[in-house]
Subunit: 415 residues, 2 copies
């Protein structure tokens, strides 16, 4: 049996004029995928009746499930609900449970209840209400000619709560389908086309029901295998085997066999070795610390960091030599190393890491924009490395931190 | 004259299964908007010929411009280019300039040139090549029945370069249209529906050609006015007037009249006052420092920070009392204040800011998950504040830092 097809329609001018980035769709896709439901199309339209109706018509003709996000807020620019009432028929009715919930939210927050807020409890009588425990706008489920149409608020945490509590259980019950298995091989240090050349024979020997995709990032390429089939256990064995085959071939470039963020890969390594790390961040301004502490349990291996945006902070908190900064500036190998040593010493960690650079024009004279020096030490040995990133400030910072995580990972693996 | 309609088609399974978030579309929309070009639909499809062709057919029937991103890489899962050759006619030919460019990229990086890389220089003869200075996959421009179809690589910085250098000048030349003016009022501290109630009369008095949208975020709501018209100067005056009217009415809740990130608003304030800030971050792990240093020129007002993820770091680098931590733990008002004072003292800044909390389960006993204490001081006076955030670790961190930026902004405004 083929997988169930689903479409996502996102509503909102703010998505079209670029004021907001749609993170909801990716999250929804991740939740539906394991149920054997494929998102085949995703459409974004503005707050405009004709466009929304056209999108609904088109997606209902293609997909068995249509998920709509956004357009449900209390203010005047939200037009989805009346439109859905018209589209699926029936008048607007007050849902008692939602009304009680809206009242209780306002009472708890000690806020006056406005008429627009109470209107949140009105829903088309043709829908099943999908209860929104963390907000006032309920989700709605409509059925039409055997298809499911699900309308959700656009606020991410409200949308997520409804999907987890109300949508997934209903979809699981309704759609049985092919199993789907994803496996990844995360690589660093070799470009997409070189990787492809190295595993050309493995790729061309893949059976019809297993696909390989290359997802290039900055200095890293993720290889993703996707298998589909009826027998899940059999499929897992097959895809695992292909993953192993690819990983063995690409051995020296493989960073992980799980699709995890680099900070999680580093965290697992440090945890397994029982080691701690401390940072001295100049140009990255705390972003490396932020990434490391996105991981639950990072307090086991992360001591802390010093964001040394000024010379004085480098000198006084990290012990970088005054004369060195005076004579050579802050972007060089010696400063990076003294920063790493200072972090390790002052925060009493196993490993110290230092990063200093110039991410955008206007800093140190004589240093090319994009130059970044990194150093890592465990007290016995150290490594240093220079990079030259070609992007703007924000992207240079992003790449620098990815490279920093990779450098930490390599160092703890090979020390 | 009505605005020119454009559609964006993004290609890639990774976008549909949720492995990648589409940030390209928002960026493209932002670039096209000032040219009077409205993105009316955005469609995401997988790496699948039939779906791509269907999307092209549908969008060409609606829009005068269709922009396609993704599907141009060198590996086997990229199928867009042959499909476009078929769709728009003509055989594949080698573009000499692109071929030279591809060769030079590989020579510069000292990498062997593979056949797949050279194939990047092949384009359908029916297209105009849009030169990609930072990568090997060229953009392509097709014309069909007076419509423009633009195909761009999915790698963000390559796509951006082509749009800036090759696409915008061509669009500017081709499409003259209504002017479009956006103005924002950024508010904090009052919910969407209360804001709407306060400006009900202003909103209902808006003329047809000026629209108001509410864009709620965490604890902040952005109000966006969009005006369209022939006479740009006249339009600017009109929209400015409405913006002022709204801002005056909402006075106490207004944070800014420009659609800037909070860190930029804070940065401008600090710059205008000539003050510096230093941070002591526990639970946010460097994220506040990261946000502040996203701004070009932040070294003028940002001294640095201490990421004190462990008790010892709080004690030794910030001077938080050992006995206090022992008896009361790290998540309380006194620790936040000692952290703020320690940051101010050790980094010699005008303002010190401390933040300590528990963002996800598994930390301090007896502290409810989501509790965050913040403190700010200028040496003379200080403020402290507790928050209780209801989300998961990642979202709690995001909200905490937004609130921290708001707290710094308020403090420097009112001290």
């Amino acid at each position: 049996m083929a997988n169930t097809k689903a479409s996502i329609i996102t509503i909102g001018d703010e998505l079209l004029i670029g004021q907001t980035i749609d993170t909801n769709s990716a999250w929804i896709a991740q939740q539906l995928n394991p149920l054997g439901i494929d998102i085949v199309r995703r459409v974004a339209v503005g707050d405009n009746k004709a466009d929304i109706v056209a999108a609904l018509d088109a997606e209902l003709s293609r997909s068995e499930i249509v998920i709509i996000t956004g357009g449900l807020g209390p203010t005047a620019d939200d037009i989805t609900k009346p439109l859905l009432a018209q589209y699926f028929g029936g008048k607007m009715v007050v849902d008692e449970r939602v009304q009680l919930h809206v009242r209780s939210i306002f009472e708890r927050r000690n806020l006056p209840l406005l008429e627009v807020n109470l209107r949140q409890a009105e829903v088309p009588e043709s829908c099943t209400v999908l209860f929104n425990k963390s907000g006032t706008a309920p989700g709605m489920l409509f059925e039409k000619e055997g298809k499911m149409i699900i309308s959700l608020p656009g606020v991410p945490h409200e949308m997520m709560g409804i999907v987890e509590d109300e949508v997934i259980p209903r979809l699981r019950q309704r759609f049985t389908s092919d199993a789907m298995v994803h496996r990844s091989v995360i690589t660093a240090g070799l470009g997409e086309s070189f990787l492809a050349e190295k595993i050309k024979d493995i790729e061309s020997a893949l059976p019809e029901h297993i696909r390989l995709a290359y997802l290039p990032g900055f200095w890293m390429v993720k290889l993703r295998l996707t298998g589909r089939g009826k027998d899940e256990m059999q499929l897992i064995r097959e895809v695992d085997m292909r993953q192993e085959e690819i990983a063995n071939r690409l051995e020296e470039y493989v960073v992980a066999l799980e699709d995890l963020p680099m900070e999680e890969i580093v965290g697992r390594k440090l945890t397994s070795l029982g080691q701690t790390v401390a940072l001295a961040e100049s140009c990255t301004g705390g972003y490396l610390g932020h990434r490391l502490t996105q991981v639950i349990g990072s307090s086991k291996y992360f001591q802390g960091g010093i964001i040394c945006y000024q010379y004085e902070v480098k000198e006084q908190l990290l012990g970088v030599e005054h004369a060195l900064l005076e004579q050579e500036g802050a972007v060089n190998e010696a400063v990076a190393l003294q920063m790493a040593l200072g972090a390790q010493r002052s925060m009493k960690s196993d490993i110290g890491f230092g990063i200093t650079g110039l991410l955008s024009p206007g800093g140190e004279e004589g240093v090319p924009v994009g130059t970044v020096w990194m150093a890592i030490t465990n007290g016995d040995t150290h490594k240093t490395k220079a990079f030259h990133f070609p992007y703007d400030r924000v992207r240079n910072k992003e790449v620098a931190v990815n490279m920093a995580l990779l450098m930490i990972w390599k160092f703890v693996n090979h020390q």
